[in-house]
Amino acid sequence: MHMADALISPTVGMAMWGATAGIAGYSLKKLNIEADEKKLPLMGVLGAFVFAAQMINFAIPGTGSSGHLGGGLLLAVLLGPYAAFLTLSVVLFIQALFFADGGLLAFGCNVLNLGFYTCFIAYPLYKQLIRRTNIWFASIIAAVVGLQLGAFSVVVQTLLSGKVELPFTTFTLFMQPIHLAIGIVEGIATATVISFVTKTKPELSPTIEAPMNRLIGTLGLLALIIGGIFSSIASSKPDGLEWSIFHTIGTDELHATTAIHHAFERLQQSLALLPDYNLKSGGASIGWLDIGTSISGIIGAFIVAVAIMAPYIIKKWRREA
C-alpha cells in the first residue's frame, strides 16, 4: 500500500506532509520521552524488528499463497499509539530512502495511510474489543478497519492528485476487497505473535494506553461518516430556505442584480474551495453516492472542527507560554 511519488500531486503530497508533521509533533509531546528514556532504544529496535519480520513469510492455509506481518497494529499494541506512530514514521522514511518502497514526496501520505489509521483508529478499537472478546477477534477487526481506511485513503489521495486516470469506482472496488483479505491475514499474524508473547512472557504483555479523548474521537468519526456519505444524499435536495424561495418566486436561489453584487459573486466563486458543496473540478459518482460532494463533506467537517478547536488551542498555547 506504499504510494509512489508518481501517483500524487505536489499539493496533496505537501498537505499530507503537513498533517504528518502535526500528528508527529502531537505524539512527541504526548510521549514525553524525557520521562521514559527507556522507550528510545525499544522503539528503534522494534522498528527494525518489524522490518525483519516482514521478510519471514507464512503459508496461508487453503490458498497456496503466503503472507507476512505488516506490523503497524503490533507496534501500537506493544508501544502504545504515540510511540508506534513515530516508530512507523521512521520505518517508512527508511523504506522510502533506502529501499525505494514508497516515495519521498508521498511519505506523508504513506505515514497517514499506514500509521495514523492503525495507531489512532484501529488501536483504540482493539483496546475496546479486547475487553469484551479475545485477542484473535480484536486483532482481526482492528487490522481490517485500519487497512480498509488506509486503502480508501490511498484512493482518495490518488483521486485528488489527478495524476492517473483510474476511475474512482474501479480503483475502490479493486483496493477494498484486496485489503480486506490482507487485513484478515494481518489480524491473524498480529494475534499469533501477541498470544505467543502473552503465554511465554506475561510480564511483557502490552499495556493499554488511551490514545485520545474518546468523545472527540467518536464525534470526529461520526462527522466524517455524515460528511462523507450522507452529505451526498442531503445536498441533492433543497434546504428549507431554498424550498420556500422556490415555492414563492419559482427559483431556489435569489440572483444578484447590481454591479456590486456581481463583483462580490465573482470574488466568492474564485475564492470558494468547495463551491455549492462540490469540488471545483466536479467528480465521479457510484450510484447515489456523489464523490465530489462526499469529499467536500469530509473537508467541510474538518474545516469546521479546526475552526471550533482553534480558540481552545490558541488559549492553551498562550497559557503554556
Binding site: I33, E37, T87, V90, F99, V193
Partner: protein, 244 residues
C-alpha cells in the same frame, strides 16, 4: 566560473547532505508536478540523476536492483492507464493514442523519482543525513530514532534470513512457514528484540547517554555548496515554470 567549483564538489562525492536533501526534494516536487502526458517535457530532467550517477560513480548494480523492485508497481498502475484512457492527443504533427503517452509518462515519472531518492541515499551516509535533518530543525528524538532503527535493520534482516533458511532446511518441501510455527519463530525474534533493547539501553546509560547531549556532527555549509544548491534548485524551478 562557478561551474568548475560545482563540478569539483560533485566529483569529490562530498556534497553537503543538506544540499542533496534540498535538491532531491525540489527535483521530486518538480517531476511530480508535470501533467499525465508530459513525457517529452520530462526527458531533460533525467539529466540530473544521470549526471550524478556518472560524476559520483554510483553503483549501477544497486540502482538496477531498486528499479527492478519498483517495476511491478509501475507496471500495474501504468497498465491501468492503458485500460482507462480512450482518446487521441496531438504529438508534434501526429495524432497518437493518449493511453501510450500516459503509460510512458507514468513510468518515466516513477523512474526519475526513484533515481533521485537513490542518488540521495548513495551519496549521503546516514550520519550526515541525520546532521542535515537536525539542521532542518527535525526533533532530535526522531533523528536518533532514525539512526537506531537504521543501525539495527540490517542486523535483524540477517537474523530473519537465518531463521527462514533454518526452517527451509528442515522442511524443504514447504514454500512458506506454517502459521503455527511462524508465530513461535517471530515471537522468539520479538523476545530477543526486547532483550536486545534492554542491553542497548543499559549500554547507553552506562556511557552517560542523554538525548540532548548525543553528538551528531553537523557539517558546515560552505559558500560553494550553498551556491551549488541555489543554482540547481533555481534551474529546476525555472525549467518547470518555462515548460508548462
Amino acid at each position: 566560473m562557478i561551474y568548475p567549483h560545482m563540478l569539483n564538489i560533485v566529483q569529490r562525492r562530498n556534497i553537503h547532505p543538506l544540499s542533496t536533501l534540498i535538491i532531491t526534494f525540489t527535483y521530486i516536487f518538480v517531476v511530480a508536478s508535470f501533467h499525465s502526458y508530459a513525457f517529452i517535457e520530462m526527458i531533460p530532467l533525467s539529466l540530473y540523476p544521470i549526471a550524478m550517477i556518472i560524476f559520483c560513480r554510483l553503483s549501477i548494480r544497486h540502482i538496477k536492483h531498486v528499479l527492478i523492485a519498483s517495476l511491478p508497481f509501475a507496471t500495474v498502475i501504468g497498465v491501468s492507464q492503458l485500460l482507462f484512457i480512450d482518446e487521441h492527443i496531438l504529438f508534434f504533427h501526429w495524432y497518437i493514442e493518449a493511453r501510450w503517452m500516459a503509460f510512458s509518462t507514468f513510468v518515466l515519472k516513477n523512474t526519475l523519482a526513484i533515481l533521485a531518492a537513490t542518488v540521495l541515499f548513495l551519496t549521503t551516509p546516514i550520519e550526515q543525513l541525520a546532521g542535515a535533518l537536525l539542521s532542518l530543525r527535525i526533533p532530535r528524538f526522531l533523528v536518533i530514532q532514525l539512526l537506531l532503527t537504521h543501525r539495527y535493520i540490517f542486523l535483524f534482516l540477517e537474523e530473519a534470513k537465518r531463521l527462514r533458511e533454518a526452517y527451509m532446511l528442515r522442511a524443504p518441501r514447504h514454500r512458506a512457514i506454517k502459521l503455527s510455527v511462524w508465530g513461535s519463530l517471530v515471537g522468539h525474534l520479538l523476545l530477543r528484540t526486547f532483550d536486545r533493547a534492554e542491553r542497548v539501553y543499559e549500554a547507553m546509560t552506562l556511557r552517560g547517554f542523554s538525548i540532548q547531549h548525543m553528538h551528531i556532527k553537523i557539517k558546515r555549509w560552505t559558500t560553494e555548496e550553498m551556491i551549488y544548491t541555489y543554482v540547481t534548485v533555481i534551474l529546476f524551478i525555472v525549467y518547470r515554470l518555462v515548460v508548462i
